[in-house]
Amino acid sequence: MNKTIRRYGWLAFTGLIAVTLLLPVKARVQENPQGMVFTPPPPSLPNNLNPKLDFALQRMTEIYAAEGIEKVRGYAVQHKIDVKDDCIRVIAETDSSNLGNSGIQARVSIVSAKIEALGGRVEMSYGNLIQHLAHPGIVQAIARLPEVKFLRLPLKAFPTTLTSEGVAKTGADTWQGVAAYRTTEKVKVCILDAGFQGYTGLLGTELPSSVTVRSFRADGDIEASQVHGAACAEIVHDMAPDADLILVNFSTDVEHHLAVDWIISEGAKVISYSMGWWNAGDGKGTGPICDDVKKAYDAGIIWCSSSGNDAENHWEGTFSDPDDDGWMNFPGSIEYLLVYGSECYAYMNWDDWGTYNGSNYSGSNNDYNLYLYYYSGGAWHLIDSSSNSQNGNDWPTESVGTYASGPIYWALCVYKHSATRNCKLEIFTAGSNYIYDYPVPSGSLDIPADSPYAVAVGATDCITDALHYYSSRGPTHDGRVKPDFTAPSGVTTQTYGYRDFYGTSASAPHMAGAFGLILGKTSFSTSQVRAILERRGLDLGSDGKDNLYGIGRLKLTKPD
């Protein structure tokens, strides 16, 4: 290994000279990582892993037992885990095999009662999922309930934001000037997001004078200290000023399912979705979040989903370990993925999801673990790890994360704990960071942009039409070309200011607004409007639909 380190040192030095010349300005001003090469030590797994318990929950119960609730609070803050009154928000997956809907409901009622009896507080349920608050002291007890198949943290979606010149750029202004023909329907466009802080101050100016709001968060907070949704709603209103807006927010996957059911019942025609999920599906358009998209599609709703901002926050490749030490060798002998930024939240999954039966995956029996190191004082320090058990029926996912006081280097290391084959791994890094070496932009779509029923939208500059570097790209894991379109980003909103709303988060509402605008002016169906827009898109990049621009940049006017 020492030889390898010395050889890599020279290679790294030579490579860095070249990379320094080739890297964009942003990268070249960063600290040179030369000399930070290291080999992660053999991992140590915690004892007595409960296979029915999410690794982070297991860790929190151990921390609670050893160091008390204060340390649990610190761990929760570090990992952005919802904690309320010292209780962790968790999801209990009840065993629903061989049960019909009524059987599942009965089981959920029984398990909910048992959770309450143990001291937990049930917030809501959806299908076989029970969202509740549990003190770390009772988490193990809940996991031991025979009807509980798995106890986990909620899946979390993240705003794909990095403010609208896009109206004129896309030609929406010319449509706005035409009176509706043969329709008087007010189109309902829903902005499904994390939060709408400040939306009331925008009513009557940046937003319609009245909007419908509904929070599916357990705390019912529609603002949720996040302005992201308000900015997205601004763009939808800019594009489709006559549309009725419905602002809906959520926090967890269970809340997401309930929200989508409600949106369908409200008669929405379009959903603007500037959110993305990782580790919530196999990247082939299946999984619980993609199911929500299909459900909306079946109800005649067009779902405009941001493709993600992860082109530089994505890596994927087949597990390789030529030195047979258990650690993944990223290019060459480098056994870590170098990340730079003030925080590093990483989500890893691999191609061993099994089959999806409409509610869950059959699961993985190839077990890989994920470790996070940070560089300080000339040495690497382990800061977090994730060692979920994959023994045949578990999701092939791991996640780690924490933050620092400023930008530093992070190293992500992957260890093959037990695997019958070398799986194809995929890692997303979330937060203020980017993968220094070696991002793989291809296939960097967030979920549910991979859904065949979603209109996935990438980001192009609102002035130059250049693809924004961060815009997630296709293909999907089953080889379909994505995104479907690109739309303007880097636009102006009241919420974010002059040309300061960047990200595919800004692009998706342009797309949703375009649908809302045309549906409000004509009697075309949602699928017809999609076909119309597909024929009018401004082809950028290579001829035809491609994995960077889709069919091209959103354009409502007829070809010149």
Binding site: S523, Q528, K558
Partner: protein
């Protein structure tokens, strides 16, 4: 609704005017023997004589003479004139006693005294042709110029059939009502057959009422600016209206300025419902959406004034 109530009132008024204009008077001979003269002139010869107390009906007065019809000694109906000094007016038509000797149909009289009485309103008109202009006021689509022609075929003095061709055009407005036509030009050309009931009066005025049905030849052209604005977006729009059957009723008034030439005015309320369709097609993708317009109401009033020539 107000329009229909108003229409009904106008129709009733026309009927009333017709009846009043045609009311006769009842005369009672007040001398032992009165001469019925061939002309309204004391120097003309007597065609018959009537006795004291005879009641007669007259629907026309020329100068100081009442025109009457009497049965002569041979049992034939003869027409002539009684001087007003030999009769008393004892009442109107409703008070006619059973023994009144009524005037008979004018045809034999016309044969007996052709072209002697002016004007000629009470004469039986067999065939007539007319032209008229006016305006239409529809319940749904505003008002516009109307014009047309008609052909009249008399069956009796009071009954006739008329076939008319009419055309009126209106400019439709923008509307949020999806059941109506969009902004554009609507042209309606009803070909109508009517039963005419005439109430000729002796002063040359012939009020009449009419009712019937027709086939409405319709056309619609979308507003050019509207079509243009969508075309600028690469979208073709089109809208059509089908032909339809309809009904109508109305009233009019002819005034004979010459024995065979009348000027007149009429009002007619038309009831018709047509179907239509619309399409919207994207020029780029050929995606098309379309719909039907199942209840296009063409109801409206048509006012006209014109000239008729009778053969």
């Amino acid at each position: 609704m107000k329009r229909i109530v108003g229409l009904s009132a106008i129709f009733i008024c026309f009927l009333a005017v017709g009846l009043i204009a045609g009311q006769s008077v009842i005369l009672k001979v007040k001398v032992q023997t009165a001469n019925v003269r061939s002309e309204p002139d004391l120097s003309s010869g007597a065609v018959a004589q009537v006795k004291l107390g005879t009641l007669l009906e007259s629907t026309n007065k020329v100068g100081s003479f009442y025109e009457v019809a009497v049965i002569d000694k041979d049992g034939k109906t003869v027409y002539g004139f009684l001087h007003e000094s030999v009769v008393d007016v004892v009442g109107g038509e409703k008070e006619v006693p059973k023994e009144v000797e009524r005037a008979v149909e004018p045809e034999p009289r016309a044969a007996a005294r052709p072209q002697k009485v002016e004007p000629v309103s009470a004469e039986f008109k067999k065939i007539g042709l007319g032209l008229f202009v006016g305006f239409s006021s529809t319940s749904e689509y505003g008002s516009g110029l109307a014009y047309g022609a008609n052909f009249y075929l008399g069956v009796t003095k009071n009954i006739g059939l008329e076939v008319s061709g009419l055309r009126f055009q209106t400019t439709t407005k923008d509307s949020d009502d999806e059941t109506k036509l969009s902004k554009g030009k609507l042209a309606v050309m009803p070909v109508q057959a009517s039963l005419i009931v005439r109430f000729p009066v002796g002063t040359g005025v012939v009020p009449y009422v009419a009712a019937g049905g027709g086939y409405y030849l319709n056309s619609f052209t979308l507003d050019a600016a509207l079509v243009g604005s969508w075309n600028d977006l690469g979208i073709d729009i089109d809208e059509t209206i089908d032909n339809a059957f309809g009904f109508h009723f109305g009233a009019g008034l002819d005034y004979f300025i010459k024995p065979n030439i009348a000027i007149g005015a009429n009002v007619k309320y038309c009831l018709a419902k047509a179907k239509g369709s619309w399409t919207m097609k994207d020029q780029v993708s050929s995606e098309e959406t379309k719909g039907t317009l199942s209840n296009l109401k063409l109801d409206g009033l048509v006012f006209g004034a014109g000239l008729k020539y009778f053969f």
